[in-house]
Symmetry: C2
Subunit: 347 residues, 2 copies
Amino acid sequence: MQKLTLKKIARELDVSISTVSKSLKDSPEISEDTKQKIKAFAELYNYRPNTIALSLKNRKTKTLGVIIPEIVHHFFTTVVSGIEKVANEKDYTVIIGLSNESFEKEVTNMEKLANGSIDGFILSVSRETQLKKDYHHLLETIDHGMPVVLFDRTIPEIECDKVVVDDTEGARNAVKKLLALGCKRIALITTEAHVNVGELRTAGYKDALIESGIGISEELILKLKDEFNEEGMEDNLNTTIELFLRNNPQVDGIFAVNEKYALTAIKAARSLGKDIPDDIKVIGFTDGVLSKYATPSLTTVSQHGVQLGEKAAELLIRRLEEDDYEPPYQTVVVETRLIERESTSIT
Amino acid sequence: MQKLTLKKIARELDVSISTVSKSLKDSPEISEDTKQKIKAFAELYNYRPNTIALSLKNRKTKTLGVIIPEIVHHFFTTVVSGIEKVANEKDYTVIIGLSNESFEKEVTNMEKLANGSIDGFILSVSRETQLKKDYHHLLETIDHGMPVVLFDRTIPEIECDKVVVDDTEGARNAVKKLLALGCKRIALITTEAHVNVGELRTAGYKDALIESGIGISEELILKLKDEFNEEGMEDNLNTTIELFLRNNPQVDGIFAVNEKYALTAIKAARSLGKDIPDDIKVIGFTDGVLSKYATPSLTTVSQHGVQLGEKAAELLIRRLEEDDYEPPYQTVVVETRLIERESTSIT
DNA sequence: CATCCTTACGAAAACGTTATAGTGTTAATA
DNA sequence: TATTAACACTATAACGTTTTCGTAAGGATG
């Protein structure tokens, strides 16, 4: 009832292990008769080579390590599903590690997987890592010759393949859309500066306003603390945004760097008697389930997470399989797309 | 720059591999001097034993295989995060396989992982598997001595550990709540019969109505086809539900077996001029992000996915580590909880 | 001084593969 | 008839560990 091995087949059929191995690989060294006999036996008892033994022998695991900050998160799961798709096509397995936005967990997870379990990493760094700016674990793994592909939350200082969304451009387009719809005073709801993507989206917001000649009013920019993202902090988030809108009654457009902020802003605006989209038009970044099902449904900058994951897996696998020549590192930019919904419709 | 191994350390320090191995394990067989020297060297060059080699030697991978039907799905990610949490605590790694609701992918994924990569499975069967009722892959793995823990979508015929949500009871409570709020004609929006959990929730709905003496009206039960869950089928879902509500204008309460159906029902009801919760009160199953952020926010039966995942991992790991004595299979039921929100508030 | 016990290490097997290098038998060649 | 080639296998090493067993050197014992 235990797993069948070459050795057991060999013993059973009274041949050597080599003969069994070669037969199953259809080697010409073995006579047709013997091959048939062995193949039939293996087939009958459903022989499958032991993956671990193969990994040890080949020094390749055909496994990708994926480390993400969170799994209960629409965007990241979207990326994972893209990774899984191409990994599966190319006969790779994926191991998932969660950092839970913690630097330490990110490091231990990487160290654990780097000891032979995987051939390469695909990862998006934790918030804490971005804050600490401690990248030794990444540098070391790359240094040991293990390929790393960074996605979404990348790090300029680290040299490796990267797949990113064009955050700045996406934000710029979103704000330009608001401008085109006639908004004059557009607020930005963003995160604290240390979050890479938050910064980029903020830059896009500013770009658009400067380009249009309107210029930036710092009082229209609300930077929300990370703590507000934690479980049970919804009330604080609510009141902060509401206060902000109350202090800036002239706001007629809002660009938020994520869904949650955007929807909270809509709720706050409504409680202040504003109508969405008539009085204030809103666009969020990240196209998740919320945007689609909210009332009013939310116009968003879609990040195409699946594509992003696919691209990341492709880059990694290509690098793993073409180990003779070393292509230069590349950064793939996945375009964003503005998905227009009710929160920006003109009535 | 390549990975350090025992052999390399041995060569470098001119001792045998055994000595190195024993020193690092602090064996009393080796003199203090030698141990210190070797440990210092290993520390300096950051030696870490190769996981694959250990797996092969110990015939244990300390890895759990998790197979779920979908990853871009709030409930499943919630479960995975619970699994990951306890796996990590107990020093296990998790490999994720996605079946994408396909029987074939479920089978190939399992076969691939079963060949040495993992020590046991935690899985929720795909819709197609439930439909086909072909469980040979599960039976075979269990037969080969590999522990399997089924969760959420379980199979009565299969003997193994299971972790489930009390679907029937949760549904019963939800419907009783609607009754307590004064609803007289409560509709059920559910899936086709072959989906296990849909069936159980339907049973709970019926139970509650029978208990209350109201009885069941088949015309108040809407069974939605699986196809409606696919991408781009939102319109069909919408119109079907709207038609249903139009045909049953007397409905004053709705119980839906998932968030999406509940929210779509709310939208449809509103477009028919009904107010939620004044005219119709709505409760959904599954507490996801949508419920919380919808307007009106949705009262739901929360499934406590994290707990479910934790429990599943605990069961599996216990079985893996206590391989001498074999505890009987158990089915753990995780209680649901009704989370009341705006869709059932009395104004 | 031969025997015995420590001490401190090394050799070897094993986990399950694959690939390279033999090896024995038979048949073909010069 | 001696040499060689082809055939059909087997032995072995290797991947990186751990662990059991073996052993050389040195000191204690009778």
